[in-house]
């Protein structure tokens, strides 16, 4: 099986607030630095890439962020429109569809259709022979996937749809998508986790479900925002002793040092739990003691991701 960045499509997933977007952008940068033409896709219009690179909103366009690095924000309605344009060659039919309130209603109401066309667009970006004729060819597509609040739903959509639609273009499309996603040579998944109880439980569960129920390759789990081990146990004991005598200015500094030590230690325990409970290799990313992340931080992370 090829290395994560040598695949064509990588989904970065995990629960909300764990730093998925940062990891997705950094992975994109890491690949771009190695000379791969890479595009980072966001699917829920959060626009993290444009924030990090201090750019105006990306939107449903392929926008260049850096050398070899592009970004797109995938809007399901736009994807649906694009899909219909590719499927229906007859202009009159399209116009009728787009003008129709029923179409708008059904497209919004059909369970899972938005997710399906979103994955369809991601797949389209990952093809060397693109359906969008004006589109660039990419070596790698990195997806900042939606939060896993509702389990593995997103990546399962193609298979569910292939089952519902028994024949026709959506059926074959959905099947092709499912084949691509579950092909370990083409598609990989990176799970992002935080060194805390609940994220570790959820990541372990997510990894198992992705492997066993969908059959995708989980290449890597990133334990994000890990505190450095700045002080040894013996040093921490010295802080506690010193704290008893200390008052004034040093007190707060000693307490901060003790807190850092305790958090770092608790986090190592969570890291060990994660390693015991997942089959994929676990890589760690450092906590960044910077008020807001900028391009330099993304570059630093990118160096540690490969």
């Amino acid at each position: 099986m090829p290395d994560l960045l040598d695949k064509r499509l990588v989904f970065v997933t995990g629960k909300g607030g764990v730093g998925k977007s940062t990891v997705a952008i950094s992975l994109g940068l890491a690949a771009a630095t190695r000379g791969k033409r890479t595009i980072v896709c966001e699917v829920s219009s959060q626009e993290h890439a444009s924030h990090t690179f201090k750019r105006a909103e990306v939107g449903f366009h392929e926008v260049e962020l850096d050398d070899n690095l592009w970004a797109i924000s995938i809007d399901p309605d736009e994807s649906m429109r694009e899909y219909v344009l590719i499927q229906l060659k007859v202009r009159a039919m399209r116009d009728m569809l787009f003008r129709s309130r029923i179409f708008t209603y059904l497209a919004a109401a059909t369970p899972g259709l938005k997710e399906l066309v979103t994955i369809g667009k991601i797949w389209e970006l990952a093809q060397l022979d693109r359906k969008v004729k004006t589109g660039r060819k990419y070596d790698l597509v990195v997806v900042d996937a939606p939060a896993t609040g509702h389990g593995i739903g997103f990546l399962q959509t193609p298979r569910t749809f292939a089952g519902i639609a028994r024949v026709g273009p959506i059926h074959s499309q959905a099947q092709a998508l499912d084949r691509f996603i579950t092909d370990h040579d083409s598609t990989g998944v990176a799970i992002v986790c935080l060194p805390e109880e609940m994220p570790v439980n959820e990541s372990a569960k997510l990894e198992q479900e992705l492997r066993e129920e969908i059959g995708v390759a989980v290449d890597r789990v990133y334990m994000n925002a890990l505190y450095p081990e700045r002080f040894s146990n013996e040093e921490a004991e010295r802080f506690e002793t010193a704290l008893e005598r200390s008052d004034g200015g040093t007190r707060a500094a000693l307490r901060a040092a003790l807190s850092e030590h305790r958090r770092a230690r608790a986090q190592r325990a969570q890291l060990a739990r994660l390693r015991r409970r997942t089959a994929a290799p676990v890589k760690t990313l450092p906590f960044i003691f910077e008020p807001e992340l900028g391009p330099e931080d993304a570059r630093n992370l990118a160096r540690r991701l490969g």
Binding site: P111, G168, I170, F231, A242, G249, A253, A257, E292
Partner: protein, 382 residues
């Protein structure tokens, strides 16, 4: 800074809202536990609690039924429980099924709905149904009137707004007004739509590859007898949300992005004329009160106390990092308070250990229910 009990004075319902990963579940449990300790009978309604938190609350066997958390568990943590704490884990699918059973005019209709493929997708998978069912369960418990205070931990939607929008979207779907108009075989709509509609459907069938319409029309015809019941119910749920005895609490983290989301969410709540009680910011790096000398002085003093220059250097560097985060948090929270034009912001400090048991909840409670001065004292340490 108000205490949580001031915010919740006279309230019967507290809805904790915010984006994922900000500690909503823990906060909800801590609020319910704290108010129970003060003599109320409270119930926390949660979606997906951390396993150990659930275990410590005795939640492991629970489906859709509330069970009482043993007061002795809290007393072991030094919290005197004068009231009762109950907890419930929501099962969205089961709640939806219950609702169908309640509104179905007869058994045949009930079974037709429960077995319909579209219904099965909606009740278990469709984004929004969890949110809708959380509201529904909240309403049901409130109507029963068994609790003084209900605390709802809202589902982990990526966008906190989905939660407000979902019930409306779902009811609209069930009503299916625009679609039913076209499906009616006769009448004005058929004349207006005429042949156009049937061509439309054949295009749709061609694109979708399955007869969505057949499944949908089966769904709508089975549901038709129940639409009114659902609409009536949704109206009453909305009335409960806007009731002055209901209180929304926005939960967020101190980083820039969660603060932006909290500001946005707060504005939407106000626009929707929903009662907002306050904001709780979790994992805040507290600023210390100590007079800050320059780094040189601190290093010298630390060297004196620790007797090790190198170690003192590292402690000072660590402290500088911590202070930078504390400054960032303070600036973000100031911005939040200014945007919201409120002083009702409760800051929970970033504790040394992750909160997932009763000891942690008890610790969080001390901040939630402490006055401003007490909080600064607690944060400064023993």
């Amino acid at each position: 800074m108000p205490t949580a009990s001031e915010i919740l004075e006279g309230k019967g319902v507290c809805i904790c809202a915010g984006s994922g990963g900000v500690g909503k579940t823990t906060t909800s449990a801590a609020i319910a536990a704290g108010m129970a300790a003060r003599g109320l009978r409270t119930c926390v309604l949660t979606i997906d609690p951390a396993k150990r938190l659930a275990d410590s609350l005795g939640l492991q066997e629970l489906g859709n039924e509330a069970s009482q958390v043993d007061s002795a568990l809290f007393e072991a943590q030094g919290v005197e429980m004068r009231g009762e704490l109950w907890a419930m884990m929501l099962d969205a699918k089961a709640t939806f099924d219950e609702l169908v059973r309640r509104h179905a005019p007869d058994e045949e209709t009930r079974d037709r709905v429960l077995e319909n493929r579209i219904y099965q997708q909606i009740s278990s998978a469709l984004a929004g149904s969890q949110e809708y069912m959380a509201m529904e369960k909240l309403f049901e418990l409130h109507s029963e009137g068994r609790y003084d205070l209900l605390v709802l931990d809202t589902p982990p939607t990526r966008n906190a707004l989905d939660f407000l929008d979902a019930p409306r979207r779902l009811t609209q779907f069930i009503e299916g007004r625009s679609l039913r108009m076209f499906m009616r075989p006769t009448g004005l709509a058929a004349k207006v739509a005429g042949r156009g509609a049937s061509v439309m459907f054949s295009i749709l069938r061609r694109i979708l590859g399955f007869d969505l319409l057949a499944d949908l029309s089966e769904f709508f015809s089975a549901f038709s007898g129940m639409v009114e019941g659902f609409q009536e119910r949704a109206k009453r749920v909305n009335a409960l949300l806007a009731d002055p005895e209901t209180c929304f609490v926005v939960v967020c983290g101190p980083q820039g992005e969660p603060i932006d989301e909290a500001v946005y969410f707060h504005r939407k709540l106000v626009e929707a004329k929903l009662p907002v009680g306050g904001v709780i910011v979790n994992k805040v790096h507290y600023r210390t009160n100590h007079a800050r000398g320059d780094g040189e002085d601190l290093r010298a003093a630390l060297t004196g106390e620790l007797g090790d220059e190198g170690l003192a250097e590292r402690v000072a560097a660590n402290f500088a990092d911590y202070e930078a985060l504390a400054e960032r948090d303070a600036a973000n929270i100031d911005r939040l308070a200014a945007e919201l034009r409120t002083k009702s912001v409760i800051r929970i400090p970033y504790l040394d250990e992750d909160v997932h048991d009763l000891a942690g909840l008890a610790q969080i409670n001390r901040y939630l229910f402490a006055t401003g001065e007490e909080r600064v004292e607690i944060a400064a340490g023993p």
